[in-house]
């Protein structure tokens, strides 16, 4: 699709890979900590389960991204000129407040 054209997936550089591995290790460490640090007065049962909030964050992000993009690609997304021609043309006022468009 169009996305792949605008964002060529270059092979990962060594430093980027190192950064990614560090990030994943940090996430693992956080979940490990969750086994020892937990709420003393959980607001609901699941909160005591180690890793609950990490799953919540990951699932939330995936559901939101997929769901919102799905909505955008089906009913919400419209051409930029949907309401009127040139309605999203950007014009910046200069410091004297005179619009350029």
């Amino acid at each position: 699709m169009k996305l792949q054209e605008t964002l060529p997936r270059a092979p990962m550089s060594a430093s980027a890979r190192r950064l990614r591995n560090l990030f994943l290790m940090a996430l693992g460490l956080l979940v490990l900590l969750n086994a020892f640090i937990y709420p003393h007065h959980p607001h609901f049962g699941l909160e005591r389960v180690p890793g609950f909030w990490s799953l919540f964050g990951l699932a939330g992000a995936v559901i939101l991204a997929k769901g919102a993009k799905g909505l955008a690609h089906t009913i919400l997304g419209k051409d930029e000129n949907f309401y009127e021609e040139g309605s999203t043309e950007e014009g910046v006022e200069d410091s004297r407040g005179q619009g350029v468009k």
């Binding site: 609901f44 939330g60 991204a65 909505l71 949907f82 619009g99 468009k101």
Partner: protein, 587 residues
Amino acid sequence: MTDFFHPSLFFVACAAAVWVLPGRLGRWLPPVAAALAIGSVLAMQPGSYTRFNYLGLTLGLGRVDALSMVFAHVFAIQALIGFIFALHVEDRWQHVAACMYIAGAFGCTFAEDYVTLFIFWELMSVASTFLVWLRRVPASTRAGIRYFLFHILGGLLLLAGLLLRHQATGSFAFEATDPAAARFYDTLIMLGFCVNAAVIPLHAWLPDAYPEATVTGAVFMSAFTTKTAVYVLLRAFTGFEILGIMGTLMTIYGVVYATIENNARRILAYHIVSQVGYMVAGVGVGTAMTVNGACAHAYAHILYKGLLFMGAGTLLYAAGTAKLSDLGGLYRRLPWAFLWYMVAAVSISGFPLFSGFISKTMTITGAAEAHHTWLALGMEFAAVGTFLSVGIKLPYFAWFGRPDPGIALKPVPRNMYVAMGIAGFLCFYIGVQPGFLYRLLPNPVEYVPYTSWHVLQSLLLLGFTGLGFYLLRHKLAPEAKINLDFDYVYRMIGRLVLALSRRPVEQIDNWWTEFYNRAGLRGLMKVAGGSVWFDKSAIDGVVDGTAVGVRRIGRTATGAQTGRLQDYLAAAILLGLAVFALVWFTG
């Protein structure tokens, strides 16, 4: 009297001075007015000041208590930051509009009765409309008209509610309403407030108009309109359960749109809907803790949202566009703007050490402790979306993402960076010294943000949101599209009215032309021929020169009729204010 000097007076005086003084001098006045306002807020003592008796009503312009103080405090600070950010703007009307807008916000904050509140409420909506129009591009003119018409609707709801309420209770007092005893007129007032608080589905004016405002105007607008509405909701409608539900829906609704939007300033506008949702939910749950949370979040939000709009405004100012699909790789060329943007982005996302962490979690924990578990979970879900869209997506595609597309950048005035620096410092300071903010809150604070569990929970939530973005980063690439929202409804209503009224008007016009052609014209020509002869030979000889005089008056009259709606509105409002002032001072 010595304990209270109304901050609005500084801004009204400043607006008048900027109007008459030469531009270069006038620009320096608004920050001075804001500094004076900070001074007057810090010097205030609780009490009721500046009461008038007018037409048998007691109007109170100066109710100072813990609730109005916390909002006045941050309004004054944000006014200073905003005016420093706008220091380079030579268009004096922008400064005048911003001053009147802020004067309105302070007026609402200290209003003791609904009449006073309504006057300042309308002042805000008029002045803020000019902050949109003064961008002076066609898109902003149209968006400004829609914005203004929608706020008139909100104002009318409020007016109807307060008049009906007066009829039923005999009082204009602006006090808390008991949820169990709420009547129809209370609902009307609440709806009027909800328009300004951008409660869905009355919110569409916000993402419609804010991205079309001037670079500096959007910074002001992001701070005052919705937060004044949160203040009045807190004042009158604490504990209305419907607000708890609507607020939570707002938090989610805003982030869904923010995830798919392309324009950076529109993403931020949708995040206002989302963030104000936390405050509205706090009002709705209505415990001491969530009321505190709503106030704290309003305070923190004004600072970081202003900073986000300053960052996105800097992008727009320098690059000439705020569309993510046209930006990328700018962190090397605008490093300071990038840094301050990221401070605001981690603040709004609720990272430990930054201001959102100590305010957002307070509302969520408060809702959970009041056994509104679903509301709390909804707000946590919205927190995921906040970090996903404003914390990662926007910066990724604006500042990193693609390689630098090589846009020519306009140099950024230094005062913009100074303002961002002040706001960024405050976001951090409140994050590490929550006591500074907690001391201002209306209820005693028992909540401790920095426990090992709260910190770990936030890091887990945000860290794995980051992982989610990492996995889906290609799917989230911005697209050059717009998204339908509820403004579709009122845009279409406008078109429908236009189409419906055009048909009969055209029809009547056709009939008239037909009639005129057949019956009137021939006879008229004959009469005209005669009268021309009479006029030329007789009258002009007698009253020579009047024709010239009439033409001159006609030209002046045409000058006043520019055919532009905003000129008429401005003239009507000026006239209205003049009449109002006359009645006020002579009555």
